[in-house]
Symmetry: C2
Subunit: 323 residues, 2 copies
């Protein structure tokens, strides 16, 4: 199925999803632009997407295109994060049975949110997730919805940039976070379809720079352990083959940020922009915000804020208040 995707796919996908996904707002800030030396930033706020993250786009796009027979059999995925919730809601809307394999130690809040969309949850140890999912596919003929190594998922994720490019004319460059590569490869295709001269930069937590290395070397580099980073949505050990192929063709640059950069950026966004984003979303803004990446004054920059799902029970503020 590698490389069945073309820029035209994104156009069809954007039309197909238009009435299902939220057309999320684009946020601008005078003070942020000033602070960054006169850049013009446009933040695509996918924290306001359904399920709180862009992942709903790809999940819905994959599920809507299953055959009637496959829809009846159901789907399975093994994410404990935003992709799980995306699949669960898409399945609910399309009346497809969904099973989510979650590690025992997944936060209660994520388990609850996923279950609330009506998905069946199966617990196992983190190490067994893939095996358990594969077993379910064998037993029940479920379709596995891979979180990023899937053409329909990639095309769906690309619709966020599709909207951004339509809403902000003359963008010069777009930054996305990179985990498995679903968002950045979809974004690449949206750019290619609409305005190929827009540059595209992928940002990764420094603790797991496999996508940076893969993109530079042209082969998928695999980390031996799950990277330790606050950006919980980007704790992938390797990107997909099809994601790498698209990235090699369209991505202009790749860079990394430290967890401290992520936290500094997160704190600014919460306190000054007044929106809740998750650490993984701060990753795309961090290189500019922390002064590690320089662009000429006046550059029009798109940033994909990927999501806003964060466990507020970690927030002492609410602890204190609930006491």
């Amino acid at each position: 199925m590698l490389n069945t995707l073309t820029p035209a796919t994104i156009r069809e996908t954007a039309n197909a999803l238009a009435n299902v996904v939220n057309r999320t707002p684009i946020i601008t800030s005078r003070s942020l632009n000033q602070q960054l030396g006169g850049l013009k930033l446009f933040l695509k706020a996918e924290n306001f997407q359904r399920v709180g993250a862009f992942k709903f786009r790809g999940a819905y796009n994959a599920l809507r295109q299953l055959s009637s027979e496959d829809k009846q059999k159901g789907v399975v995925t093994h994410s404990s994060g935003n992709h799980a919730q995306g699949v669960a809601l898409a399945a609910k809307l399309l009346n497809i049975p969904a099973t989510i394999v979650m590690p025992d130690d997944a936060p209660v809040i994520k388990r609850t949110a996923t279950a609330a969309y009506g998905a069946q949850i199966i617990s196992c140890s983190a190490a067994q997730r893939e095996a358990v999912s594969a077993q379910l596919v064998d037993q029940h003929n479920y379709t596995l919805i891979h979180p990023y190594d899937n053409d329909h998922v990639i095309a769906g994720q690309g619709t966020a940039a599709w909207e951004l490019i339509h809403d902000v004319p003359d963008l010069d460059i777009i930054f996305t976070p990179v985990g498995g590569g679903g968002l950045i490869s979809g974004t690449a295709l949206a750019i290619a379809a609409l305005t190929p001269n827009i540059k595209l930069v992928g940002v990764e937590p420094a603790a797991g720079d496999d996508a940076n290395r893969s993109w530079r070397q042209g082969t998928v580099c695999r980390l031996t352990a799950v990277p330790q980073t606050i950006a919980d949505g980007l704790r992938t050990r390797f990107i997909g083959q099809r994601n790498l192929a698209i990235m090699r063709q369209y991505v202009t640059d790749m860079t990394t940020v430290t967890d401290q950069d992520i936290i500094t950026t997160l704190q600014f966004v919460w306190s000054r922009l007044k929106i809740i984003i998750e650490p993984s979303a701060a990753v795309a803004l961090a290189p500019l915000f922390c002064g590690h990446y320089h662009l000429p004054t006046g550059t029009k920059v798109g940033i994909i804020l990927s999501g806003g799902n964060i466990d507020l029970t970690q927030c002492g503020f609410f602890h204190q208040l609930n006491d």
Copy 2:
């Protein structure tokens, strides 16, 4: 100066402020509407206003109308909260010297934000704030910008509802928080000017229900101590005479919420709507959200989310991350 305000004043004010204030977004949520039994809620997100709260509207409106001579002499106010920041930014924009009298124990973050707008800050004990301000007025002929008992401030605050009513046709009812009464009296005048049939409900923390009692009794009731509530923007001991006069004429109902109601509502807004609001802003939504106030299915409800300034250093999440 009592009762120089008319609904027409709001119209002029809205026009005068249109290019200075942010026209803040109106937020809707499918899941919130469902959860509240099919109400249609429209949240006017003044947390996205300049300085992070509606208070900028009133402050700017008061300062812009000073005589040239008074502008040159400067202004003073004695707030440690959002009004202080509103006055400081308005003064900066209008090139007016501003002095803010702040209690010694004001949070560092508020002091820093106010100073960042270029205002002079004078510290004193909390009990001496009024006296110190009065002294500064005497010494320097500063104009005191009262946070709510001031016609221009009231008219400015009313422009938030003015925008809301323009952007959402056929609203049935609007809820605002009540501290000193500036926002609700401005809102009342906006309703009177545009669509007098919209009902208006004021909500107050139960710990300080002086506005509820004042409105029912028709005289200003004064609390002997500052009310102990998490809603730090509403810790006023009494409302203004001119605010009461307007409230008696236009307000349909008043109600109260507990701190637990405020926290429950705040947590929902942060975690599900993905926006940062402060406890005082949650107050207006809390009666409906917590099931204490019932309206028929389909009712179109406007809620003024008053602001989003909150000290995130209280948030253990960032502590933990910064360690």
